[in-house]
């Protein structure tokens, strides 16, 4: 039987679960970083910041964080996804897809018409996921250099 997946807003009680879920992808726990994200994204009534959790049987099994950013790099208001994670044991159950779909729905409600993200070129899994959701190379190119 397919388990019931619930997508809901993150709460402070999710902090430890999110730190653990995130560390699976990055192999590094970042408690201070996530505490800061929870401080900024859990405020009520801010529909331009979205922090969602996927839950199965009361357990957090995935998350997505995004927000509306305007005029950075000269870009008109646009939705950004900057974190996504799904429990290893819950992969291929469309959890990422459900999270992304709900985030896009919220962005549309906020009047946003496009969404973007930035992914390590070597992260084939996440790149393939976002491509499967219809994202393509956008109009901006990220440039960087090593500082001597």
């Amino acid at each position: 039987m397919t388990p019931q997946i619930t997508i809901r807003n993150a709460t402070l009680a999710d902090l430890n679960s999110i730190i653990k879920l995130d560390s699976v992808g990055t192999e590094e726990e970042k408690p201070a970083y996530w505490s800061g994200v929870f401080d900024r994204y859990l405020e009520d009534g801010r529909n331009e910041r979205i922090f969602l959790v996927a839950e199965i049987g009361g357990e957090a099994v995935g998350f997505i964080v995004g927000e509306v950013r305007a005029w950075e790099f000269g870009s008109p208001p646009c939705g950004w996804v900057f974190a996504l994670g799904v429990s290893l044991k819950m992969r291929e159950m469309s959890i990422g897809q459900l999270l992304f779909k709900e985030l896009c729905h919220r962005l549309k409600q906020a009047g946003i018409t496009s969404v973007r993200t930035m992914i390590d070129r070597g992260n084939k899994l996440v790149l393939s996921f976002f491509r499967s959701q219809g994202l393509r190379t956008g109009p901006y190119i990220e440039l960087e250099k090593q500082l001597d």
Partner: protein, 141 residues
Amino acid sequence: MKLQKASLFALYAILDLASDPDRQLSATDIANNFNISTHHLAKVLRTLVRSGLVQAVRGAGGGYRFAGSINRTTLLDVIDLFETLESELDTPNSGIQTGKPIMEELQSITTEIDDLTKAVLDTITLETALNSSRLRIRHTV
């Protein structure tokens, strides 16, 4: 980027077959769908069969059937069977050192372009490409 004909025909064939994995198509069926040479396509299909992405079904009513994983196989996996996507700079190897930094810089730029191309092709699965194609059909209708 200019794909070799064999790579392009392979992508046509694999996407056509993967769009309905239970269906068998002959080389002529596929060639007609894309208005390409059956003779050339038959050679391409032999390579696809050897790779395991396609299965040849013998006998009356035989043909070809998709045998890979639609959500794991990427466009680059298919292209890699026929060519390596490396830009070729036809630089002379004269041993003269004066122009070497410029030649190396141009090589570095083409490598950057190649890496981006591969990053795109290696993250589009057959499933994603087919879903996007179906969306195009819906938008056209």
